[in-house]
């Protein structure tokens, strides 16, 4: 007998698939097979940089056995995609960088090991900007990712956002039920908004960074992508948790985030920061933002205007702190212990040639900026000042929360997605401006969620962002669920 769930399993939400597996209406092998076929048919999107079908089917088979014995974990049999920033034991992990193109980890990242502990199935590794440095997934060594979305009446290829572009594209196109991402300045929330799906950047310290290729350690945080708010809540519960191997990982219980979905938001105070009304913001984004506030108000929340006076300084401060930390983290790629080596006459020439050949232009640029701002004579003027500004940015949020605000509502991005190759003016700052609404959250270590709000006149998705108090992801899930219910869900028309 064919039920709607078994006929198109890739269209199920992660929660629906979980429940269908539990009821034995569908097997994990069938669900995985359907996703492997979808991936094969969608190679034009370039979302996966490595497909692991044999591993996926073996994991699915083991899940079916556990489910048959009634021993299934919270994610038992659910096929996921993994951003190529997460080390996966025995499975090539490259950060989509030439310098790591042959790296096969001998260990598993903590976050992915939590997913496998809970029964999830790995479909493969997902494309991203090289070392997660980018906002359009155009800097990947494996080439750009294509969004499943297109402008109405156009065949032009659209970017999925970045750096977790493969994750966003794969989730939106039904090539996995959910995916992992990493977010240093917006790399989960911006692509989620561009792809019309949900993405969560948890509080700094909520997920272990151990085994994730490091970009900027004081900003990096892992989080989930999925097509519904509930699905991201389910995934985050598994991904989060204390890890003694990461000293910045917090030792506090992981709540049942799924239970927060559908919880009343009545009486919550929602802040609308006036500084996010930036010049040149399209009317459609402004209108969506207003609509988001109306939806929350209709659900019983109180809307208040708030001020985050240092907002405009977050992005410039980020472009000092993040490259500084990156230049230090990426010093490990020296052609000695792992990765690619280019021979040289002496050891310095070997380092310099290896790193010139192994890093792409964006990564090289950031390492050089980072090296400059940390160099003797410039440290105080740049790095120290940026860290002082960061303290002020965090204080803006603290003042706001101290005044009783439960969460802050903003647009997720200043525009809808753009076309591949459309932003190559030669001024790197043009691309950086994509992260203007998301980067403050990383600078302050707060949790943020991007949830779809609607489509623009050209038919491309637009997202809203909710920013929460530290470790209060639950409130974000409750609020995002209200927006989701009113805005509806968005699925791209299949063209691939």
């Amino acid at each position: 007998m064919t039920s709607p769930t078994t006929s198109t399993p890739t269209a199920l939400s992660l929660a629906e698939a979980r429940d269908a597996l539990k009821r034995r209406e569908l097997s994990a092998v069938e669900l995985t097979q359907a996703h492997l076929e979808a991936i094969e048919q969608a190679r034009v999107l370039n979302a996966y940089v490595l497909e692991t079908p044999d591993k996926a089917l073996a994991m699915a088979k083991a899940s079916d056995e556990r489910l048959a014995r009634g021993e299934g974990g919270p994610l038992e049999g659910l096929p996921l995609g993994i951003k190529d920033m997460f080390a996966t034991e025995g499975v090539r992990t490259t950060a989509c960088a030439a310098i790591l193109e042959n790296f096969v980890p001998v260990y598993e990242s903590t976050v992915t090991s939590h997913l496998w502990r809970d029964g999830a199935v790995m479909l493969g590794k997902l494309n991203n900007d090289e070392f997660a440095m980018g906002s359009s997934n155009e800097t990947s060594h494996f080439g750009p990712v294509v969004s499943p979305w297109r402008r109405a009446g156009s065949e032009a290829k659209i970017v999925p956002g970045g750096s977790s572009g493969g994750s966003a594209s794969a989730v939106a196109a039904g090539l996995c039920l959910g995916a992992t991402g990493t977010d240093t300045g917006g790399s989960i929330r911006q692509p989620a908004a561009f792809a019309g799906i949900v993405g969560v950047k948890p509080t700094y310290g909520r997920c272990s960074r151990w085994g994730i290729v490091a970009f900027a350690s004081s900003l990096d945080q892992a989080g989930p992508f999925a097509r519904t708010v509930k699905d991201t809540a389910i995934l985050l519960r598994s991904m989060a948790g204390h890890d003694p191997k990461d000293t910045t990982s917090v030792d506090r219980p992981v709540p049942d985030y799924e239970a927060a979905v559908g919880r009343s938001v009545k009486g919550m105070k929602i802040g609308i920061p006036k500084e996010y009304r930036v010049a040149g913001m399209p009317d459609e984004i402004e209108a969506l933002w207003r609509k988001g506030a109306e939806w929350l108000k209709a659900a019983g929340a109180e809307i208040v205007e708030v001020s985050l006076p240092h907002t405009k300084y977050a992005l410039p401060a980020y472009y000092i702190v993040a490259p500084a930390e990156a230049s230090s983290n990426l010093a490990r790629y020296d052609g000695v212990r792992f990765g690619v080596r280019v021979p040289g006459n002496d050891i310095t020439a070997m380092y310099e040639k290896t790193r010139a050949a192994g890093f792409g232009p964006e990564v090289r640029r950031r390492i050089m900026i980072g090296t400059y701002v940390l160099s003797a004579g410039y440290y105080d003027a740049y790095y120290l000042r940026a860290q002082q500004v960061r303290t002020l940015i965090k204080k803006d949020f603290e003042d706001c929360f101290a005044a009783g605000v439960s969460a802050i509502l903003t647009p997720a991005t200043p525009s809808a997605a753009f076309g591949i190759g459309e932003k190559v003016s030669g001024d790197p700052v043009e691309m950086y401006l994509n992260d203007i609404f998301t980067v403050t959250v990383n600078m302050a270590g707060l949790p943020g969620i991007a949830v779809p709000g609607g489509l623009d006149a050209q038919g491309l998705p637009l997202g809203l962002q909710l920013i929460g108090r530290p470790f209060d992801e639950e409130t974000l899930f409750s609020l995002a669920a209200v927006i989701e219910q009113d805005a509806g869900r968005f699925t791209p028309a299949r063209w691939w």
Binding site: F103, L315, T348, R365, M368, Y372, T391, G445, P470
Partner: protein, 95 residues
Amino acid sequence: MSVDAATVRRIAHLARIAVEDDEVEHLKGELNAILAFVEQLSEVDVTGVEPMTSVTPMTMKKREDVVTDGEIPDLVVKNAPASQDHFFLVPKVVE
């Protein structure tokens, strides 16, 4: 502040990235665009403001000072571009 060609070469050397002569001008332009962008931070009054060292208030956890890992030299050198007898091989550094 802005960088000149000599500074670009010096930064590249500090970062151990070989830069060809014909790349210097282009890099100089890009780096100066970023430096011009971050220049706006000089408007902010940071008098008496503590620089951020940790985004979430926490004391660094310390574990017991005992050996918890090791005896895995095969795995340690597994991804090395050149190794011999569990040593990493590099070009000669001492004459």
